[in-house]
Symmetry: C2
Subunit: 338 residues, 2 copies
Amino acid sequence: MTKQRQITLKDIAQKLDISVSTVSRALRNDSAVNAHTKKAISRMAKQLNFEINQVAQSLHKKKTKALGVIVPNLTNNYFAASISGIQDMAAKKGYNVIICQSNESYEKEVNILRTLANGRVDGLLISLSRETNNYDHLQKVLYRGIPLVLFDRICNEIPVSKIVVNDYDGAFKATEHLIQLGRSRIAHIAGPEHLSISKDRLNGYRDALQKYGMNVEQELIRYSSSYEQGAVEQTNELLNLPSPPDAIFAVDDPAAIQAMMVMKERGIKIPEEVAIIGFSNDPNSAHTQPTLSTVAQPAYEIGQIATKHILDQIHQPENSISQTITLNTELVLRNSSK
Amino acid sequence: MTKQRQITLKDIAQKLDISVSTVSRALRNDSAVNAHTKKAISRMAKQLNFEINQVAQSLHKKKTKALGVIVPNLTNNYFAASISGIQDMAAKKGYNVIICQSNESYEKEVNILRTLANGRVDGLLISLSRETNNYDHLQKVLYRGIPLVLFDRICNEIPVSKIVVNDYDGAFKATEHLIQLGRSRIAHIAGPEHLSISKDRLNGYRDALQKYGMNVEQELIRYSSSYEQGAVEQTNELLNLPSPPDAIFAVDDPAAIQAMMVMKERGIKIPEEVAIIGFSNDPNSAHTQPTLSTVAQPAYEIGQIATKHILDQIHQPENSISQTITLNTELVLRNSSK
DNA sequence: TTGAAAGCGATACCAA
DNA sequence: TTGGTATCGCTTTCAA
């Protein structure tokens, strides 16, 4: 199989003995081209199997028709769903999506951002790694005039559009639900301390307790140390307390599911002894035993909305203002909190 | 915030009153550049916050340092894990990954392929949509000399490297396991008919039955019609048979989980009345009630290997031969088949 | 060791 | 309606 050289405008021009400019115009359906010429050109293009070179086009137009996406982890259902939303919306608008995962590493995030920002993409959608608590890399991208939108794992230090769910409200509702179930020692398995989602969910939890006149006990709030197995450790700590919790609100479904595994191993009855509720409505949560109550986040929609925003910014950079869009969550009650 | 113009080699050259060529050489650490000049250039580059324009570089080199990936669906755990493997390996070798989903549509797959192949990527990794049974679009890409590797959802009609698991063997082992459990009416919830994975798994199922002297009954083999809810229908059909099955081998875990839901609704005891086993070792399968037996596929590794292969082809197109790499599966026995 | 100039492929301005 | 030419930013050959 001989590697076929790429067909260019020049090839078509030479075959038809006309100029490259005319070929270019004709293929873009410029009205200032004779109908006959146009027809001949498009016929020849088809015959030669011509496909335009997007790289050359990008260089000239300074537009790549590509969006960059950086997420902590692709295998997390939440991010997979968001990306699916991003990808569908981008495709609809004629954009490609370059996806990178930071693997929860700040250093990787910085590197990826640097390479993506070098003319490869017209805009960036980012969900921050759990390690990220310095935002110079984002600031740099902004300074270079590249549109940027944060989603889910955002930070408040950077003035860009952000798409999030109402984490505070979701956490509040989840905690309130456990209270109304009659639980009195409600623990919280918290997320990485400096992430805004962790803070917001923790605050929702705290405020719900306070609204119902319950104490916020520090020993019932546990932060994870490692990402993968964090909740295992936290759950064990909670269950080992002299006075263990009778309910747990976990920062996300993976954490909740880990907690459930620990409790099952220890023979603790869910929800009779300990009720539990997660966050994110991971597909897994509908299949656990017992099925897991959770707070549903519209992941796919977040991806779509974030994409719509970045495209708006790309197409009309002048009249686009940074705004934070907060979507609502929904309590999904299942058997783990009955 | 004023949009900063992109810094180019020319800017550095002008500031230092030297030529663009020298700047280009220096930044690539060409030995034929005076050490002093080099130092001055790299200092200036840093000072101006210079980042090379990859699009211009790509145009010249005819290399984009990007790989294209097309999968049917990003939210499927199997594909998410494969992509994670692709992405990690690609990043390690300095490549970006452009990810697209065909949403199981042949038409979309063709379109995506067309746009990606236009100079955007140096190679393509594809897992075919369930609708795809014409391979002209792949042939075209091959003819244009763009390296191509198929993984998981492959076809045998195109002479390229393929990375798959031993679907036949996995299915055989799964079916054999059900037989050894003492089950006598073992059904198969099959995948889309023309996909090679469906065929191979079906054959493994058939041969296992035959090896043990059991009949292959057509009524116990059910193909899904729609993708999303296919297994629901198939399961109901099976359970409504005059003589329903006492075991089910499902083409993948999502299908198996759907089947379990149907059986639970109908009050059928798993595994006492009907044992079930899936395929792919989806993370969900460890959390279902009962936990789901399955056949584990090394999704992440498949992604890594596929990427290694495409990179080999890109770097040494001459001595790369098309080969099919078959990875082994592993039986994961849980409570749904005890 | 350095510079000038051509070229990658497409677009757009200015002339004709 | 068409063609010539400069340009996008970088690389590379040829000459100096």
